[in-house]
Subunit: 299 residues, 2 copies
DNA sequence: GATGTGCCATCGAAAAAACCGATTGTCAAA
DNA sequence: TTTGACAATCGGTTTTTTCGATGGCACATC
């Protein structure tokens, strides 16, 4: 009695909690249903609590069961981290990692990154999730992702970041005599203008305005697009002008269009790109190595 | 290959890391030396890294070994928490808990608390450590303590607190015509006076001064004592006056002396007493129950 | 340089456990 | 009432764990 649980038991518990079905959970764990059933029973005996309510029609968790399942998840993911640390220490870039990237970075950074990783570190498995910063941060906290590539600053509780590089904003337009006439463009020239921007939720929106020291009230925003490519198409059809991050231009987002770009005369009209991870995550070293790898080809 | 470690293996690893000696570590784990040796070897094979450098003269950890030992410690303590949650859920106040208490609270709260706990919850095992706030917080973070009883506010990273009760400060002196003459004492009357206070490191010092809206420069501190009892002895020998928390007076710290006390006319000349624990600790419910238990007899 | 001592690794056997397939028991739907 | 779906239980087999004994190594002692 009062035996500590084994990791195996905790894994089985999580499987049952997920499947709500002993047979399916057993398959998931590659064991027989009888073994699973016995294991759960033993776990409950050892812990002295009932975790799962079984009826032959449905399986559900007791309140304590929910709580223990949550704890088991964090314990198991820490064990995973432990193994990842070992793998990385025996050979860097040989394990796997789950990276979240925002939509205004992903298409411009990933092709090159994944390509180089495959060539230089073929053993390294990088899983990518592309989503808005907010959702990525949620996934990070849930333990579904290990590290995020975000535009910083972005507030993430209990997290640690490292800077990768700066990404300048350029003014992009097609036909605009007013802009053509200007020797050089300053952010002040944007006041009162119409700007095509991404819809709410994309941090690029706020970062671009902030970098230009603009408030929403300083400009008018006629349309909110869901992707930079859409915006580029609109600019190419002379619907308005916009701010584009340099990395998107480097990635040839403008190819096939007659869109002109102008840098701003001010310095630091830019966003910062960085990596972010849970402060508690023991794989910090690997993240730093990944950061260096990105900088090596991006800078 | 690439088998996940078992909790048993992690426990054994921690034991070896602690003892730096296979034989002793084996005794600690109640297993034979051969079993321990084999287990560590297997762990290293499964993880694919060398964790321990063995020579027949001394055992020491590789850098990765250090890292993995740290991770193992946190994992194991989370498993302990998991078991504690189960124990508490099958019957409140039936497990064990490690409580840190500061020296200006411990002697006045613990006798009553421990006594009542023993009577009402005989199965509950409360381990006490008495130390300065700073050291308790260190122990909390290291996982050596589960919960602290502190005077709040006290900054603790990644922690959560709950308020227990307020503890008034009273002026304590023996012979002092100036104070006798006053109808009522205000904190302003302390300016320029000599006050006996605890030495640096005791948060009572800062909390008392702050409650009286005094700075160190507003008064003179002729002597710094190591305990409230020392201060009381000094006051009883007419060396000066001091500020005493009401809970110490309730606990009869003045018995056998002729020391007089006067409350301040201002309200809120007091410190707040509360419980603090790691935000991540899943035993929050138990801590809240303990808080309620304390309030039930203290309020 | 022989001997002893302390230490960890290894070996083989015995004990313990984990696991499986088959079966049973239970409940609800048909 | 029968059937079907599901989890629990049983008995036997395989795998794992554990132990005591032994081996081998490095150092200290004489």
């Amino acid at each position: 009695m009062a035996h500590p649980p084994t990791l195996k038991q905790l894994r089985y518990l999580c499987a049952v909690a997920e499947q709500k079905h002993f047979g399916n959970a057993a398959k998931l764990c590659n064991i027989s249903q009888s073994t699973l059933s016995a294991a759960i029973t033993e776990l409950e005996e050892n812990l002295g609590v009932s975790l799962i309510e079984r009826s032959n029609k449905r399986v559900l968790l007791t309140p304590t069961g929910e709580q223990i399942t949550d704890l088991s998840h964090t314990i198991l993911s820490e064990v995973d981290d432990l193994m990842a640390v070992c793998k990385a220490s025996q050979e860097p870039f040989s394990g796997s990692m789950r990276l979240g990237v925002i939509p205004t970075i992903a298409p411009f950074l990933l092709p090159k990154l994944l390509n180089r990783l495959r060539k230089q570190h073929p053993k390294f498995r990088l899983f990518i999730k592309e989503d808005l910063s907010k959702n990525l941060v949620d996934s990070l906290h849930k333990g579904e992702l290990d590290v995020l590539c975000l535009a910083l600053p972005y507030p993430v509780e209990g997290a640690e970041s490292c800077h990768l590089f700066y990404d300048e904003f350029l003014l992009a337009y097609q036909n605009n005599k007013q802009m053509d006439a200007l020797e050089s463009v300053g952010t002040k020239d944007l006041r009162g203008q119409e700007l095509l921007l991404l819809e709410d939720g994309h941090c690029l929106r706020e970062h671009a305005l902030e970098a230009c020291k603009l408030r929403t009230s300083d400009i008018s925003i006629p349309y909110q697009a869901t992707s930079l490519n859409t915006i580029v198409q609109m600019v190419a059809n002379d619907i308005g002008m916009t701010l584009l991050p340099k990395m998107s231009i480097d990635a040839k987002i403008l190819s096939g269009t007659k869109i002109k770009t102008k840098p701003f005369i001010e310095k630091r009209v830019r966003r910062a790109i960085g990596l972010t991870w849970r402060k508690k995550n023991p794989r910090r070293e690997e993240f730093q190595q990944l950061a260096t790898f990105i900088q090596d080809f991006y800078l």
